[in-house]
Amino acid sequence: MAEHILESISLFLPEIALTVTLCVAIIADLILKERNQNVAYVVIAGLVITTIFVLRQTGLTETIFSDMVAVDPFAVFFKIVLAVSGFFIVFFSMKCRELDANKKRIGEYYMLIVAMMLGMFIMVGATNLLLMYLALELSSIASYILAGYTKRARDSAEASLKYVIYGAVSSGMLIYGVSILYGITGATDIYGVNAALQTGDFSPLALLTAGILIIAGFGYKVTVAPFHFWSPDVYEGAPITITAFLAVASKAAGFAMMIRFFKVSFIDTALLDTAGVWDIVEGFQWNIILAVMAVLTMTLGNLVAIWQNNIKRLLAYSSIAHAGYILMGLVVLTDQGIASMMLYFVMYLFMNFGAFYIAMLISNKLDTEDIEDYKGLGYRAPLVCVAMAVFLISLTGIPPTAGFIAKFYLFAAVISAGWYGLVLIAAINTVISLFYYVRIFRNMFLIEPEGDTSKIEFSLSSKILVFALLIPTIFFGVYFRDIVDLAQASVKMFGL
């Protein structure tokens, strides 16, 4: 056993590096005292080390800690996505003026971001229901606190409280579902669950109940309807950096865990064919439930987004809609579907972070989040507004941007699995989404500025960060072969 644990530790280095970063960040915060904004550099250093360890895991397919965690291409892919988004969030936070409201605690802020990342790293690899739950709670608790970080602002306090209460209810549902599943199968690791389900010796109704409760728990984390209701308030009230992090990284980790759970637990390995199309065990047709949820999520997200005037709230609803699109990949039960989901996350990371970052820059300068105040900004801050336009085009899914490629592959996967209706609805939704994205665009470029028409200057580092997000968004829209190949190669999970 001791050897096995030591061996596992050597394959667990990214997470250990994050834990060490967390501890160092706490100590650094104590030592630096007044200059505690420098904790950010500690965190960046920690993230660099973590990323190196992650990259060294490419190509491995192992299970560690007595089947608790899998180190496989699937997990590594998501860990890279998470690490990249972690870097961006730390850079954003160093720029964000909103965070100054609680300056004294900025050390804890960075520390909690690391804690959240640690939770998400474990989420994407966990293969045991117990550990999945713990990891989910770790990242959730850190994000509850972060959502209320600027607690002086009433919105932020409200956001945090709502988040905690809904979060508690949903993790209660999740653990209830898990306990029923354990009662049926007698296993907490998902391979054991799968083995027990394949014998066919269980009551379908109990499995259905467990499945619905677990979907409710996961659905909360990835904001799919009808478990999305907390997110607009939280996204609006939380500091914008955290909103962006929740909208991208937290969703990616949640989806990764959900994919792994559903795929490994409910797959019928006897019917696993070479073309990457799989079948589920009898008794629980969860893809139909998920399809309904996907339709609901994207429609609701888009329809409500039309009426929003607050940019953060608009992006919140837009990210709900995107969760709906992404969920389609899980509905179709093919490796192609999952690969396109993973691809979507890469693209989504850049374009969504870009939109959030520019909203943050504008809020830094003009102290507004109202879309009406964006009127004529195109003349006052041309570079930033053009970048924003690209990000919005990409979020809509118009070529030649990354968003188009992401949507294209996703829709193709859904069509080739024969879900034509689903694609039709998604396409209609894309058209609807055009409406509210264009509204921002129109305000920025087609309306003359009123009142103050002076140019707005941004610092060099801000511009560099904009380009760091802008270039991939355009680049992946033109040259996407490699990233598609990478996503398709990373579908492989341990044990399948």
Binding site: S8, L22, F65, M68, K104, G119, L134, A196, F202, T209
Partner: protein, 170 residues
Amino acid sequence: MDLYAFFFYFFAVLTVGSAFVVVFSRNIIYSAFALMFTFFGVAALYVLLYADFVAVTQLLVYVGGILVLIIFGVMLTTKVFSVEMKTGTLNLLPATLFTAIIAGMLIFVFSATDWNVVPDQEWDTTVYGIGALLVNEFILPMQVAGVLLLVAMIGAVMMAARDWTKLKSK
């Protein structure tokens, strides 16, 4: 009815009954103390399942820790003696229907399902086994739980630290 069944039903009724008081009492202190009996009842049920370690841990953590803090919090609120919870009943009909459906489904599931049951066995001591599992098979969840608690603690301190002047609304 043998002695075991008698004790089981006694503690089950105690647990559920006091849980009802927790929910329906309008006085928050009563709710808190009723919760104590719920926890006690659950601990007793654990004892009946040969889970002595879990039972005492339940007492130690829930009754001795969490509930004390809840009561502490209640007593520190301004109008200690007359904290009336504002429990309005909204949407009575849909809520009742929804609850009834959920409850019916759960009860049906619990009674109709063929659960995966571990064969009856008398345990002498469970502590050693639990300890061995915690540092072998379950070492990772245990460590993660440790980090989780650290984060929760720092977060709680951060939330509670008094360094603001007044809530300002945007």
